[in-house]
Amino acid sequence: MTNARRSRRRSVLRSLVRRAAQRLDRLRRGFVSSSRAAGRRARQWLDRLPRPDELPGPFRQSFWRSPIRGPWLTSVLGLVLLAGILVLFATGLLSYAAYNPDLSYLNDQTPGKGWLGFYLFSWPTHPAWLYRLNQGVHVTLGLMLVPIVLAKLWSVLPKLFEWPPVRNPAHALERLSLFLLVGGVVFEFVTGIVNVQQWYVFPGSFYRLHFYGAWVFVAALVVHTGLKTPTVIRALRRGGLLRELRTDTAHTRPEPPDAGGLVSPAPAAPTISRRGALAFAGAGSLLVLVLSAGQSIGGPLRRTAVLAPHGQDTGSGPLDFQINVTAAQASIKDTETGASWRLTLKRTGTAPGTPVSLTRAELLAMPQHTARLSINCVEGWSTGGQSWTGVRLRDLARLAGADRAASLLVESLERGGSFRQAVLSPAQIMDPSSMLALRVNGSDLSPDHGYPARVIVPAAPGVHNTKWVTRLTFGS
């Protein structure tokens, strides 16, 4: 390459760089001037808006008269709610893991969860009360938080009508996140509450709505908690937690004006103290606890759950305990469960053997095992401990020639439904209490309890205790 060509090339390069720099500079200047113009336009727009005192009703700050509204009350309610919702979120995630969705697509009610299943682990079988406690807490605490959510939302309602509706981009984005927060919390509570009452009005699968809805809500909650922490600390430092809790109605005073605009500029005389308002919400929580915990505790306390779906006493016979799907509802015919019924044992893998077919009498002739276990529903109720007798799943695995089964596909006679089949994990197959139950409390199973045979696995979600079992397929 000659020197002349080299220098020509250099000059071309230089001019390219110069032109690029000029273009960048023009862009930058354009951006600055256009952002300045946008800022000017936004200010003009804000100036053209009517002033709050020219507006009707709730957009005027003086519309809001409660003397107890203010950062102190909102902060205390927010802290209580935050603690409760953390427990709800944790128990919710655990309940999701309890289905072992990673084991098989058949267990996965929310395919497409992607990263949101990052924490999944193989659900244990010990302690046997694990799922009962988890769901009892999730559902009962969820119900108990309803009055706290209502009180918290009441305490911040003036913010819905704040004026101007948007002050700057930061304010706009934060309000959008508050829409996700409020929409999310109400959405989660409503879907959960109507689902436990079997009123399936929501659009689509409960699992999908409640699971992804929770993540949308939690995304907004994390940011809200982060942004509001300084406000909460300030409010509690100034108001003093104990001082306010010792203040009665007669001594209740409005808080000094706050930056957030919660404190009324024209407060009415107090009709309730702040501690009274907290006690009101707390009494609601307590009442809900007393009237629903019985359905998950069981025994003589079940009847205290007078408004809960599974609070009714079903009698004292061996088969008198709670069910959630009847044989009639699942269209199980007598002809399928009678003398012609056979249990098929299969093994998949490199060398699948011939399937084994067993009658109920043959199953009863095998070594029988008895365990006292409860069936615990995702809806938060429990059957309480029942004495189940049947053949251990690990004995059936050996019979099928799959001593070290990696999975077990349980299939029911049911024709439809999300849970007509379930896949169990190695831990669930090998647990000495896991069984194909044939009898309960010394009596043959009834059709509604899954006659001729049903699966019972400790600590598994209720729907994984498949009823009317027809085939067990062990994977290797």
């Binding site: 003397p67 109507v194 949308v216 408004l307």
Partner: protein, 218 residues
Amino acid sequence: MKRLARWYGANPLHLLALLGCFALAGYASAQLVKSHPVAVAVWFLGAVVGHDLLLLPLYSLADKSALAAIRHRSPRLPAVPWINYLRVPAGLSGLLLLIWFPLILRRGTQYHASTTLSPDPFLWHWLAVTGALFLLSAAMLALRLRRTPHPAASPSSASPNEKNGHNPAGAPRPPPSPATRQPPRTARQDADEPGARPPASGPPLGTDQEPPDPGHPS
């Protein structure tokens, strides 16, 4: 950076946190709205509207009406803050109805078919619990009244506030706490003045009531 912060209206960390929030929420919503996008959006929006613009105004209105009804009663009402003896049982009963109305009003049509349990008792249980709450509240009010002198015996100069129970037993109103102490109000100060305390002898307004608006032509 500074210009960005000024234009944005907050610390850039604020923007970062919110973008993180929307990223996660967007990721989850993609799955949330997969099968019924419009219906799910309607449910989300309906959740906000249903609570903020329907449920809350309704119960606030009920509370306000109860307070207004008291105001038009005879001044011989007992001098205890009795609105709460009405508010608490009504609120708790309403809470139970709000949570359990699908069972109480038999919305879940599958309930009997799937559980074999009777759907009948829920309405009666709710009515019984409601009755018990009001009875308990009435008993507590009666106990409170026995220990409180009747207002007929107290000086007739008691303010309406005291008669309506904001200030039990006609005790003198204690001084405001230092944090909220204000100079005495003058007639020129309007109701929108931040931090203004309620006038001690003003009408006993309920929570969230439209105040008298002297400065507004009607």
